[in-house]
Symmetry: C2
Subunit: 412 residues, 2 copies
C-alpha cells in the first residue's frame, strides 16, 4: 500500500483532449430510423419548398384587386370557374371577375394572387359567389419558396437528428442518410470484491452495479455498450481482457479501483496497452478525483472510480461528451439547458476543486428548488434520489441557501 500523489489536470484541458479524439466511421441508414442519430453529411436544399404557390385556407383563389371595396353591405360578385383539384395543376386560370374553389394545400391557379376564406363568402349558385371582405395580394398563400429556397444549406455533419430534421430531409426526397456509427463502448468492472449481479455475494463481496449503470448511461447518450464482465485485481487477466475489449470497441471504460492498490493496477494495465499514452491521472473534482484518461492508438480509455455515484458523475460530466464527440456530434449540442433552482441548504466546498453535488429538483408554487442529496459517493441511493447536479466552482467556498443555482438535469 503506497501513498499516491495526483498531478491533477484542469477540466478545460479534459474537454480539449476530448475534442481531439477521432470520430467513428460513417454508415448509411433509412431515414425512418434517423431519430437521435448524428448526421454525417451536408444537406443542401435541392428544391424550392413547397415548390408551388399553395393555399393555406379553404376558400376561393381570386385576384385581390377584385375584392377592393367589398364589404358586408357591398359584396363583390365573382364568377366561379370550378375547383382546384388537390395534388394537381389547376385546369383553368383566374381572370378579372372570376374565382376558383380551392382547399388548404391546393395549388394557386394562374392569374390568382390571394385566397379568400370561405367564411367571408356566400354561394349564389354553383357558378357565382358574393365576397364580403377585402384581401391584399398574397393573403392566405405560401409562396413557392417560402418554406425553403433551393440551394439553401440546411443541415451539416454533427447535427443531431430530431423529428424536424428527419422531416426536412424527407422534403428533399432523400430517404437514406449518412450518419456516424454509434460508438461501441466496452465496459470492464474491476475489483476482487466485485461479483456478477446474478450471483449471491459471499460476505465481503458486492454485486457489480457499475456495468449496469454505465450500460444504461452509454445507451442513453447514443453509444452501444458492450460488457466484458468483471476482472479481478490481477495484472495479466485484466490486461488480456482490456486488450480484447479495446480491439473490438471504439472506447473502453474500466470501472472500479477505489482502493489505491486497484487504482495502481488500473493505471499499470492502461499504461501496458499498446501505444498507450496517459493524458489524465486525477481530476480536481469531487466526486471522481482518481479518474484516468488515456489514448491508445487512436482509441480512448477511461479509468473511472469504483464508487457507483463517482463513476456516474464522471460519466455525466466527462464521458458523455466524449461518447457524443466520438459519435460525431459536437460536444455540447442541443438539449443541454440548465435549470435555475432555489438551493434548499448551504453547501460548503474546498477551494481548488470543483464539486458536483447531487440534487433533487422539487417544484413548489411554480418555483424549482434544488435539494442536495448528501452521502458518500459509494451509495447508489444518492443517485436514485437525484435529478441532476449542481456545480460548485473551483474558486468558490460554497453556495448559500435560498440563492438561485443552476442545476444540470440528468439527460435521461
Amino acid at each position: 500500500m503506497t501513498k499516491e500523489f495526483f498531478s491533477v489536470t484542469p477540466v478545460e484541458k479534459v474537454f480539449e483532449y476530448i475534442a481531439g479524439f477521432p470520430q467513428t466511421s460513417i454508415e448509411t441508414i433509412d431515414l425512418l430510423d434517423a431519430a437521435g442519430r448524428i448526421l454525417a453529411e451536408e444537406i443542401v436544399s435541392n428544391i424550392d419548398l413547397p415548390g408551388f404557390e399553395r393555399s393555406t385556407m379553404d376558400g376561393y383563389a381570386l385576384r385581390a384587386s377584385d375584392t377592393f371595396g367589398a364589404s358586408e353591405g357591398n359584396p363583390a360578385f365573382l364568377e366561379v370557374q370550378g375547383s382546384v383539384p388537390m395534388g394537381k395543376k389547376p385546369d383553368a386560370a383566374v381572370s378579372a371577375g372570376t374565382a376558383m374553389r380551392i382547399a388548404t394545400g391546393g395549388m394557386l391557379p394562374d392569374g390568382a394572387d390571394a385566397v379568400m376564406m370561405i367564411e367571408h363568402t356566400s354561394e349564389i349558385d354553383d357558378t357565382a359567389i358574393e365576397v364580403y371582405k377585402r384581401v391584399a395580394p398574397g393573403t392566405h398563400i405560401i409562396r413557392k419558396d417560402e418554406d425553403i429556397r433551393i440551394n439553401t444549406p440546411l443541415l451539416g455533419p454533427g447535427r443531431r437528428l430530431r423529428p424536424q430534421e428527419a422531416g426536412i430531409i424527407a422534403a428533399m426526397g432523400k430517404t437514406d442518410i449518412k450518419v456516424y456509427k454509434k460508438p461501441l463502448v466496452g465496459i470492464i468492472s474491476t475489483g476482487d470484491e466485485v461479483v456478477e449481479a446474478d450471483s449471491v455475494p459471499e460476505t465481503g463481496c458486492i454485486r457489480d452495479i457499475n456495468t449496469y449503470t454505465l450500460s444504461a448511461a452509454i445507451h442513453l447518450c447514443g453509444g452501444l455498450p458492450r460488457s466484458y464482465g468483471i476482472a479481478g485485481d490481477q495484472f495479466d487477466p485484466l490486461l488480456t481482457i482490456a486488450e480484447k475489449a479495446l480491439a473490438e470497441c471504439d472506447l473502453l471504460i474500466l470501472s472500479g479501483g477505489s482502493s489505491v492498490g486497484t487504482r495502481d493496477l488500473t493505471i499499470e494495465v492502461i499504461e501496458a496497452l499498446q501505444h498507450s499514452k496517459i493524458l489524465v491521472h486525477g481530476l480536481p473534482v469531487k466526486p471522481g478525483k482518481p479518474t484516468i484518461i488515456a489514448q491508445t492508438g487512436g482509441k480512448t480509455v477511461w479509468g473511472l472510480p469504483g464508487h457507483v455515484a463517482s463513476a456516474m458523475v464522471i460519466f455525466e460530466i466527462f464521458v458523455k461528451p466524449c461518447v457524443r464527440h466520438i459519435g460525431g456530434t459536437t460536444m455540447f449540442s442541443n438539449n443541454h439547458y440548465s435549470i435555475p433552482a432555489v438551493l434548499s441548504r448551504n453547501l460548503s466546498s474546498a477551494q481548488g476543486r470543483i464539486d458536483y453535488v447531487r440534487v433533487r429538483i422539487v417544484e413548489k408554487n411554480g418555483l424549482y428548488y434544488a435539494e442536495p442529496i448528501l452521502g458518500p459517493s459509494g451509495l447508489i441511493r444518492t443517485m436514485l434520489d437525484a435529478d441532476g447536479l449542481v456545480k460548485i466552482d473551483m474558486n468558490s467556498e460554497g453556495l448559500v441557501k435560498d440563492t438561485v443555482v443552476q442545476v444540470m438535469p440528468f439527460q435521461y
Copy 2:
C-alpha cells in the same frame, strides 16, 4: 365544401381521456437493455446494501478509542495484525491496541469501529504503526445497511429506468426485469396531394413529411413507429388501411387533412372504425385546432392536422403524453422541466384559445432568451429553427417583450 363548426374540448379533458387509455402488456427483458424502459413491477430491497461494514478509505481498521489523545506530537502506537483481503471476511479481529490494513471497499474486521486514513499514520515496521490523529467511532465506514435497508420499497410500476434504477436493480441480484412493451404506433399520411418522400412530386403535389417527423417523435418518446404509407382522399381505401393498422398497433395516428374535405373524410373514416367513439373533435389551441381523438375497442386513434408544424406541436403537447401513458409511464414523469427565458418580442394571442409559440432558445451573458419563430404552421423551417414552445394561456391576450416566460424545450 361545407362550413364546419368545432365544439372544442378543453385541454384538461384531453389529459383525463389519456389517463384512462389502457396500457400495453408486459414483457421481460435483460437488465442490460433497461435504459429508458418503463418498469412494470415492484422492486423491494431483498438485502441490506452493502451488506457488511465497509471501509471508504485506504488505511487501518482500528478501535476509535485507541486514537483518543493521539496527535502529531503524541502519536498512538498500534500493532498491525495483517491486511483485510478484498472480497473476503477478515481472518483476524481487531482488539485494543491493534489495527489491520484495509483498502477502500474492504470489510471491517470484528472489533474495529473506525478506519484511520493512511495519510495520518506512519509505518514503524511491518507489524507496527504510529497514528497521528483522533477519529470518532464510525469514521470512514459505510454501515451494512447505510445504502439500502432490507425490505425497503425501491421502485414501482411506471418508473422510467435511468442508469441509477438499473444499478439498484443489479444490486438486488436481479438481471431480468418486467417492463411495459413499447407501444406500437401506426402512422398513415393522408391527402391526394401527398406523395412518397422518395418520389419526384408532380406540380401541385408535396412529399410526405409527417410520416418522418412522427416516426422520429414516436421513437424518441419510447414508442415503436410503423408507417402504413400514404392514403389518398377516398373513404374505402383509407378505411381499409386504418382497420389494418389498428388491428396491428396499440395506437393509430392519421395525419393530413388540413382542408375541410379531407378533415371530413378523416372523421368519417374514424367514425366508421369498429366500436369507434369520437372523444375530441377540435381543440382550443393554435396551431392544431382540427385535432381528433377517438377510442375504438380499447385502442386510441388520433387525427392530426396535415400542416407539418401543427402535427408536431400537437404531438409534443398531447400525443407524446399519450404514447408515454400507453407505454406504462405516468404522463408527466421525470425530465420535464421548463426553462425560464427572456422573451425577445411581444406575442399577441386571442382569448379563448391556447397558443403554443415555437421559439429558439439563445444564451447571452448567462441568460436564456426565447426568440419566437413566426410563420405559418405549414412551414417545416419554423420547427427546424425552434428549440421549444412557449404557451400563451387561454385567458391571456399575449406575452410582453423582456418578461420571463417558461419555455418547454423539445425533449429530443
